[in-house]
Symmetry: C2
Subunit: 260 residues, 2 copies
C-alpha cells in the first residue's frame, strides 16, 4: 500500500514501526526528499570522513556499509530498500565508514536543514527516526554475535536468512528467494571468510538442499533447514509481533501478525 502512496519513502520501517506513523508524518517524510538519483555500479555514495549536510533514503536496490583497513575491505552492513541509509549522518555529520552502491540503485536525498526543521516540530517522528538508527545498531550486534560464534556455513546461512527476511518485510523477495547484486567476494567480506571458502561453503549449502547461489539470485531451497542451520531468530529486527509489542511509541496497536 504505502509504497504506492509514498513512492520514495513508502518502505521506510515497513513491517516495523511504520504503522505507528500517522498519515501526516508519512507525508512529511515523503516531502523531505528534495531530489532523487539513479546510480549504478560499484561506487561510493558517501566516503568516510566526508562532511554531510544531507541524508539518503534508499528507494530501490541494495547498498553496503564498508570499512577499508590496510587495503582490505570489510562489509559491516547491508542495506535494502526503505532503509534511511545514512540518517545517522544527521547527528554525526561525518561518518566513520563508507556507503557503497552495488548494482543499480535509486536514492532520495534529504537535506539536513529541512530535516532539522521538521524534527524540532515533531518529537514523535524524531523518536521514530531515532528508532530506525537503533535498528541498524541491533543488526550490528547480531552480526558481531554471528561472526564470533558461527562457522563459515552458518554465517553465510544467517546472512542469507536475514536479508531474505528483511526484503520480505518491505514486500520484496519471495518465498522462493531474492535477487541480489552480491558476488562471492562480497559474501566473503560480509562473513569474514576467504572467497575460496565462500565457494566451498556455498557448494555445501547447495548440496544439503538449503540454498542456491547463482549470479544475481539467491534461491531458498528449504526455508526450514535454513532457519535451523543459521539459528536465525528475527526478533532483533524488531518486526511487528517481536520484542516491540507494546512499544510506547505505538501503544497497543501492534498486534498484527509479523511479516510472513
Amino acid at each position: 500500500m504505502s509504497c504506492h502512496d509514498y513512492p520514495m519513502t513508502g518502505r521506510f520501517l515497513q513491517g516495523r514501526l511504520r504503522h505507528a506513523m500517522t498519515d501526516r508524518e508519512q507525508a512529511l517524510l515523503e516531502g523531505l526528499v528534495a531530489e532523487t538519483a539513479e546510480l549504478q555500479g560499484e561506487s561510493l555514495l558517501i566516503e568516510r570522513g566526508q562532511f554531510c549536510d544531507f541524508s539518503t533514503m534508499l528507494i530501490e536496490g541494495h547498498m553496503l556499509r564498508t570499512i577499508h583497513e590496510n587495503g582490505r575491505r570489510s562489509i559491516v552492513g547491508y542495506q535494502v530498500p526503505g532503509d534511511f541509509v545514512d540518517l545517522h549522518a544527521f547527528a554525526l555529520k561525518r561518518l566513520d565508514h563508507d556507503l557503497m552502491i552495488i548494482g543499480k540503485a535509486k536514492v532520495g536525498y534529504v537535506p539536513h536543514e529541512r530535516l532539522r526543521e521538521v524534527l524540532e516540530q515533531e518529537p514523535h517522528l524524531a523518536r521514530i527516526f531515532w528508532f530506525s538508527t537503533l535498528l541498524d545498531a541491533s543488526i550490528h550486534r547480531e552480526w558481531i554475535m554471528k561472526t564470533q560464534q558461527m562457522r563459515a556455513m552458518g554465517r553465510l546461512a544467517h546472512f542469507i536468512a536475514e536479508i531474505w527476511y528483511r526484503l520480505r518485510m518491505v514486500d520484496l523477495g519471495r518465498s522462493s528467494g531474492f535477487q541480489t547484486p552480491l558476488n562471492q567476494v562480497h559474501l566473503g567480506q560480509i562473513c569474514g571468510i576467504s572467497t575460496v571458502h565462500v565457494n566451498r561453503s556455498l557448494r555445501d549449502l547447495r548440496q544439503a538442499g538449503i540454498v542456491e547461489f547463482r549470479r544475481g539470485r539467491i534461491t531458498i531451497l528449504d526455508g526450514e533447514k535454513l532457519k535451523k542451520l543459521s539459528r536465525f531468530e528475527p526478533s532483533y529486527l524488531y518486526g511487528e509481533g517481536g520484542l516491540n509489542v507494546g512499544n510506547a511509541l505505538d501503544k497497543g496497536a501492534s498486534e498484527k501478525a509479523a511479516a510472513q
Copy 2:
C-alpha cells in the same frame, strides 16, 4: 572538572561532544537521574525483551552487552563510566540483548517520562543523546570489522587498545594501563575465541612485551607496539579532533587536542 560538578553524569561524552553541551544542558542531564544504585557481581541489569520505562547511566565500574544463543554467551559491547548504557531503550522500549554487571558498579536511573519531557523541550540535547547512541553503533561496526579481519592476538590487542583509549577519554586509566573486572573467559567471549586460546595469545602478547594481563588489571608494556599490532585507529570513537571536527552540533568550537 565536570565529574566534580556533576558527580553522576559528568563523564557523559567527555572527550567527545560534551563541550557542545551548555551548562544548562549539563545540569538538566544531571537532574534527570532520579535514583542511584550500587551493584555488584555478575548479574543482569536488564534482560533481553524486558519492558523498560527507564534508562541507565553508568557512573562507576564496567558493564557488558551480551547475547545468549543456544546456551553460549556472546559479548557484543563493553561499557565504561559515562556511558548512557541503555539510552536506546528510550526509543526501543525493549532491548534485543542483555546488560550485565561485572565487578562493582554504580548506576543512575533516568525515568523515560522525565526524559521525554526534557527532550521535547530541548532539540539540541536530543540530538546529542541521539549522537551518543550512534557512537555505540560505530563501535559495533569496528568490532564487526575486527572480528572479520583479525586473528586472535590482533583482536585481543584491538579490544585492549580501545578500552584503554575510552577510559582515558573519561579521565580513567593511566598510561601504564587500567583496571578491569574481566577474566580470560570474558575476553574469549568478546573476541570470539576459545578461553584456552585467549590464554595462549595473552602469553604471546606478554612475551612480545606489549601487554600484560593479570587478574583485575591490564598493564600496557609498550603502547606503540600495541597500536601497531592492533592497527587501532581511534577515529571511529569520534573523539575531539577526530572525524567530528566541525560538527554542526558544535560549530567551530572543537579544535581542542584529542584526549591524550
